[in-house]
Amino acid sequence: MIFFASIMLMASMTLMLIRLLRGPELYDRVLAVNSFGTKTVLFLCVFAFLIGRPDAVDIAILYALMNFISTIAILKFFRYRALDIALSRMNRNRGAGS
């Protein structure tokens, strides 16, 4: 049963990779990476049972936290590196205020 679950998780990871390669927007890709990370955490937990080494669960905990931080970091980088987006929002707000 653990084997079936790992096969299903790997299949869904493959589907997520297809969305990562096809995703028309940047945000589709970020979403695909984040979801891929969640599935990786689950797969690591299942994998620990599959090979009978519970140490992999520690790696899964670490990966869950790193996945979250990396998603936030990617979003922040793309938000503030693309200066025209931030400036256009600032202009819009100023125009609405005056």
Binding site: M1, M8, M16, S35, L42, V57, N67, F68, T71
Partner: protein, 125 residues
Amino acid sequence: MSELLHYLEIARHILASLSLLGGGFFVVAGAIGVLRMPDFYTRVHAAGVTDTLGAVLVLFGLILLSGFTLLSAKLALVGVFLLLTSPTATHAVTNAAHIAGLKPRLGTYRTAPPPEEDNTKGPIA
């Protein structure tokens, strides 16, 4: 007495298997949804299926398999971290897309749209 314990053991394994299979089903369904949905804002919802029920069912099945040990406490910790971080990450992605001006596709969507419908209404109903 030992008979009863034996049956409980069998029930535990059956429940764990069902939970693992159900979790795998929800994870695959969420992945299919991310592929099938028409635009970014709707794909977020499909990814949410994987993040909540799929993850929790898989982890619950593994906790049942491992019994009352330190390993199951660690698995529960993984579940708590996933449940705390996934809505925040989802909100961060959608909020970034919204602020960057990505327009959601509103109105009605069908996989095989019979008549052409007007999807160019205002962004917020």
